[in-house]
């Protein structure tokens, strides 16, 4: 996607971005070397992975885990490490995110 780059005169003071939640606009999962795969059959919905994820990348709906946000997951493996029933497997990435 071609992005039009702004001149220095057009930038907000100090590089401030007026507005919050900028990660929603940027996919930051591209440097992941391994990805968590959740086996929802094994998952007991304890939400430990959701609680520990440093990138807010465990997706939930109606208080139930539904999957992983791979656009932002960095593949740190914290979720797999804390899962009490070993329902999360870390799988090496092959190719792009």
């Amino acid at each position: 996607m071609a992005v039009e780059l702004k001149s220095w005169r057009e930038l907000p003071i100090g590089g401030v971005i007026p507005g919050g939640a900028t990660p929603e606009l940027n996919k930051t999962g591209s440097w992941r070397s391994q990805r968590p795969i959740i086996d929802l059959e094994k998952c007991i919905q304890c939400l430990m992975c959701w609680l520990h994820c440093p990138d807010n990348s465990i997706l939930i709906k109606d208080q139930k885990i539904t999957g992983v946000d791979y656009d932002h997951c960095k593949g740190c493996g914290a979720c797999a490490a804390v899962c009490p029933v070993k329902a999360i497997e870390m799988v090496p990435e092959r190719g792009g995110a």
């Binding site: 780059l5 702004k6 001149s7 220095w8 005169r9 930038l11 907000p12 003071i13 100090g14 590089g15 401030v16 971005i17 007026p18 507005g19 919050g20 939640a21 900028t22």
Partner: protein, 387 residues
């Protein structure tokens, strides 16, 4: 009303009158009495500032950055090694365009460990993006602390400002200072209007984001533009302050008997006071000598200074710190400013006063005499050094 006070006390008084929202300081060595006085004002309920005593100077500047981004008016003070530890975050404060005002009691950087005056700490911050002003006296330190607030917060500027005052010579010796009334200072600095304050939770903003090769350069260019805006704002703030105080602040530097001077000293800080006496003594003997005292060092007013110096025969630039491996930093500023002029004086460079070494009137008179024979392109000279 005139009072007798140390430079430290004068700066603390200016801070008390400004009454910033937040003062973050590291409370022990190499901190100055500025923080001690201010902590007393807070403890006594004289000011309603949030005083944040942190565990290091790195944290002091970090707390200043956080508070300033939140939307607070912020001040701090430090000296020598303390500034060295702040440096990493000072660059960030400048890049985030946060108008933090800081008093810097100029003291030599280690090693060897010293504590006395020179300008090596200020020179360390030379390229940080902070504005730097040098005071000659406790009165100037007081006045420039108040002017610095207005300069830093001007919407074209929004940069940290360092007010330099010579350690011990100014900070610990008592001088006559005439402060303004509290209400005058409050009115002069006015209400601070932060831009994108983080505490404005209805309008969230993202501070300090990552900037890759596609934007880093543009953001640094914008920072340079803020620096370029400083001289004009500096002059207008001076003009307003001169009216208020009745003191003659006019110009990016102070010329002293410079008009027809053939031999000129250029200095920063308290040595300017000694230099004025040296100039007076030689003028009394009919010698055409003068002084250029730098007030605004960063940004460096190169065209104005070049115009003031180009008519001289010889200029002696005095640097109170090494820039190891080259001539002194102030000398480089002056010579590069003169480079493009048709008329160029011979410029010589003295390193002087390191680690609190005294500089006397007689020595400065000697400099003004001995530079008669100066040659172009000389290496460093040393003032008051045992060879």
């Amino acid at each position: 009303m005139k009072k007798v006070m140390t430079g430290h006390k004068a700066v603390a008084e200016a801070m008390r009158q400004i009454e910033p929202d937040v003062v973050a300081v590291y409370p022990i060595t190499p901190q100055s009495e500025i923080a001690e006085y201010y902590a007393q004002y807070v403890a006594d309920g004289i000011v309603h500032t949030e005083l944040v005593p942190v565990e290091s100077e790195h944290s002091a500047m970090s707390a200043c950055v956080g508070a300033a981004a939140a939307g607070a008016r912020v001040m701090t003070a430090t000296a020598s090694q303390g500034l060295a530890l702040m440096i990493e975050i000072l660059y960030i404060a400048a890049s985030m365009r946060l108008p933090i005002v800081m008093a810097l009691a100029n003291r030599a950087l280690s090693g060897p460990i010293n504590i006395h005056c020179d300008h090596s700490d200020a020179y360390l911050a030379r390229d940080s993006g902070a504005v730097q002003i040098f005071a000659e006296s406790a009165q100037e330190a007081y006045d420039y602390m108040i002017m610095a607030q207005k300069l830093a917060e001007h919407k074209k500027v929004r940069l940290p400002v360092i007010v330099n005052l010579d350690g011990f010579t100014l900070t610990h010796s008592a001088q006559v200072v005439e402060p303004l009334e509290d209400a005058q200072v409050k009115e002069f600095v006015g209400e601070y209007e932060p831009i994108y304050p983080l505490l404005d939770v209805d309008n969230p903003s993202t501070w300090g984001p990552f900037a890759m090769p596609d934007y880093y350069f543009e953001l640094k260019r914008a920072q340079q533009a803020a620096m370029e805006a400083v001289p004009e704002v500096f002059l207008s703030v001076q003009e307003e302050y001169a009216k208020l105080s009745g003191r003659p602040y006019k110009g990016l530097f102070e010329p002293y008997k410079l008009e027809d001077a053939e031999r000129v000293l250029v200095v920063m800080g308290s040595t300017a006071g000694t230099a004025k006496v040296a100039v007076d003594e030689l003028r009394a003997k009919g010698e055409k000598v003068g002084l250029l005292k730098v007030w605004l060092w960063r940004p460096f007013p190169r065209e104005e200074i070049a115009s003031a110096l180009e008519g001289a025969k010889v200029v002696a630039v005095l640097d109170r710190a090494f820039s190891f491996g080259n001539m002194g930093a102030l000398y480089l500023d002056i010579t590069s400013a003169l480079m493009h002029r048709e008329r160029r004086p011979i410029v010589v460079n003295y390193i002087y006063g390191l680690g609190g070494r005294d500089t006397s009137t007689e020595q400065l008179m000697q400099v003004l005499q001995e530079i008669k024979d100066a040659q172009p392109g000389e290496g460093l000279r040393y003032l008051g050094l045992r060879e």
